[in-house]
């Protein structure tokens, strides 16, 4: 049973610690597992000690999102392949991302939040941030995708030709 007043202290990779309500952390599969399995003292969960490298700034964003979504249904509803769509991000979430996902930032924060959501096992946040990134590259050419994501091609021309040949049946 989860008591709404129960609080959990999270310690980040850069040494800061944040205390949050258990009502928020119940959405993180990782923190819940840490609390129940590891029987950590005073419900203090050191995120860095268990290979979860989340810095203070990212954790603040995660907590902001969790606070808004504290009453979301659990477990997070799994979508079937047909139901999967990237254009159903709630308005609050869109505004939340727009605040920090600026052009200058070049998705650095977005990647950090995706990684944190993945490591902390927060399915709703992971889903939403992955959709955000998918929307950025959907329908784009290979060059446009590299441009948006600041990626350089690490294939040789021959390898690219090989992959194109392999996927030739997908063209029609």
């Amino acid at each position: 049973r989860i008591y709404p007043l129960m609080r959990v202290t999270l310690t980040t990779s850069d040494g800061a610690s944040v205390t949050v309500s258990r009502q928020l952390t119940k959405h993180s599969g990782f923190i819940e597992k840490a609390i129940t399995d590891m029987a950590v003292d005073d419900n203090a969960v050191p995120l860095s000690a268990v290979a979860v490298d989340v810095d203070d700034a990212t954790l603040k964003l995660v907590i902001e999102w969790l606070t808004e979504h504290r009453d979301d249904a659990l477990p997070y509803p799994e979508k079937t392949d047909e139901e999967r769509r990237a254009d159903d991000i709630p308005a609050w979430d869109q505004a939340f991302v727009q605040k920090w996902d600026t052009k200058e930032d070049q998705q650095q924060t977005l990647y950090a939040v995706i990684t944190a959501a993945d490591k902390l096992d927060i399915k709703g946040l992971l889903d939403m941030t992955c959709k955000t990134l998918a929307n950025k590259i959907n329908g784009k050419t290979v060059e446009e995708m590299r441009e948006i994501l600041q990626l350089e091609c690490d294939f040789t021309e021959e390898e690219l030709a090989e992959i194109r040949k392999e996927n030739a049946w997908c063209e029609n």
């Binding site: 999967r84 998918a134 329908g139 050419t141 990626l151 294939f155 690219l160 029609n172």
Partner: protein
């Protein structure tokens, strides 16, 4: 969807002989399977070592440069004499190469699972493009391929006898694409981004049946219709045929096995898990190539499927050890719960003669008129 009957009957006479492309392409490369299986990893190994050594050299070189910068400044200084010298030229070349290493982007931090989740929100053609973006992305797509959206096609025909693959697009106005049958490894690579409504396989021979069925198991074609015709399967491939059919149980509603040998590997147990969702079942041969191991268990399974609301429409069984009791069991189930027209054909079944079946039907007060029976506006047609 293209009718398989057309696909099956499109060529009435089966072409046999040396003019077939298969003998020069598909067949031979499949026989080469074992050899190429062994040689491939070895080549990769060499590549890995070459890459490790290159990296090691880069590291040692950069450590040396940072420890003794003056030596390298001297060596790399723009002097025509040095440029002519072999070893220095080599060092310069290495140096140039290591600066062209991929620029670091934070997206490289994302692990393959997260990348897979991102890709799962793209359309299938977008995923094919993503494969060209970077090595890591290609690896992530490889690993998560079974969970990613697929490019839908109407029908995929694997014609092993003619060494040809034909892909019919969903849009009927567009022409089907024909490709020569590649080697088997290449075939499954080429099909991995595709799904189809109908999968049509013709002319397998025993030696290739196991690798082909294994490859089909690993793909996610999710066909509603699977049709195997003129396939000579090896006894060992029976488990792979079962695995392939059972893996597709959620999508499969129409199964046809026509002139597939040996009949003994087509069993009740093979069909059992598929029966509840089948709309059409055809297991047929002309009575000259032995019996299938199909008994009343299968028809009674179909009867149960009708009783729980299944919309069975076609049953075409030949050369099976059915009994009149089993067939009547299916007819009675249709009378009590059938929700669609049903066409029931029984041929070359030793124990089901027209006389024995009609006698048993009459004893249950079931009378066919011109081979037809009408109930609740639906029609059951019986062909013996």
């Amino acid at each position: 969807m293209i009718s398989v009957t057309v696909a099956a009957q499109g060529k009435i006479k089966r072409l046999v002989g040396g003019h077939l492309k298969a003998y020069g392409s598909g067949r031979l490369s499949i026989l080469d399977l074992d050899q190429s299986d062994q040689s491939k990893p070895r080549r990769n190994e060499i590549n890995i070592w070459a890459r490790v050594l290159t990296k090691l050299f880069d590291v040692v070189y950069s450590v040396l440069v940072s420890c003794f910068p003056f030596v390298f400044n001297f060596l790399n200084s723009p002097s025509p004499e040095n440029d002519q010298e072999g070893s220095v030229g080599f060092l310069k070349k290495r140096n140039k190469r290591s600066t062209s290493v991929v620029r670091y982007s934070a997206i490289q931090k994302l692990d393959e699972r997260s990348l897979g989740l991102i890709f799962s929100y793209l359309d299938a053609r977008g995923i094919v493009r993503c494969e060209l973006v970077s090595r890591k992305w290609r690896r992530a797509i490889e690993k998560t391929i079974n969970d990613l959206p697929k490019i839908q096609s109407d029908q995929i025909r694997l014609l092993f006898d003619e060494g040809e693959v034909v892909i019919y697009p969903v849009d009927e106005k567009r022409c089907p694409c024909r490709y020569p049958m590649p080697s088997l490894q290449v075939l499954s690579r080429k099909l991995r981004h595709l799904s189809c409504l109908s999968l049509f396989v013709r002319g397998l021979i025993p030696v290739e049946s196991t690798p082909v069925l294994k490859a089909l198991c690993e793909l996610c074609l999710s066909p509603q219709q699977i049709y195997l015709i003129w396939c000579k399967l090896s006894p060992a491939s029976a488990t792979h045929l079962a695995e392939f059919l059972h893996r597709n149980v959620t999508s499969l509603s129409d199964l046809g096995l026509e002139e597939c040998t040996p009949g003994v590997i087509i069993t009740d147990a093979l069909l059992q898990p598929l029966l509840p969702s089948l709309v059409s079942l055809r297991v047929w041969n002309d009575g000259k190539s032995g019996n299938f191991a199909i008994s009343d268990t299968t028809v009674l399974g179909l009867a149960d499927a009708i009783r729980i609301g299944g919309g069975l429409e076609t049953v075409d069984l030949a050369c099976s050890t059915l009994s009149p009791t089993g067939v009547v069991g299916l007819i009675e189930a249709w009378i009590s719960a059938g929700s669609a027209d049903l066409s029931l054909s029984i041929s070359h079944c030793h124990f089901v003669t027209p006389d024995s079946l009609l006698t048993l039907l009459e004893s249950r007060n079931i009378y066919f008129k011109n081979g037809k029976l009408i109930r609740r506006g639906h029609c059951l047609s019986l062909f013996l």
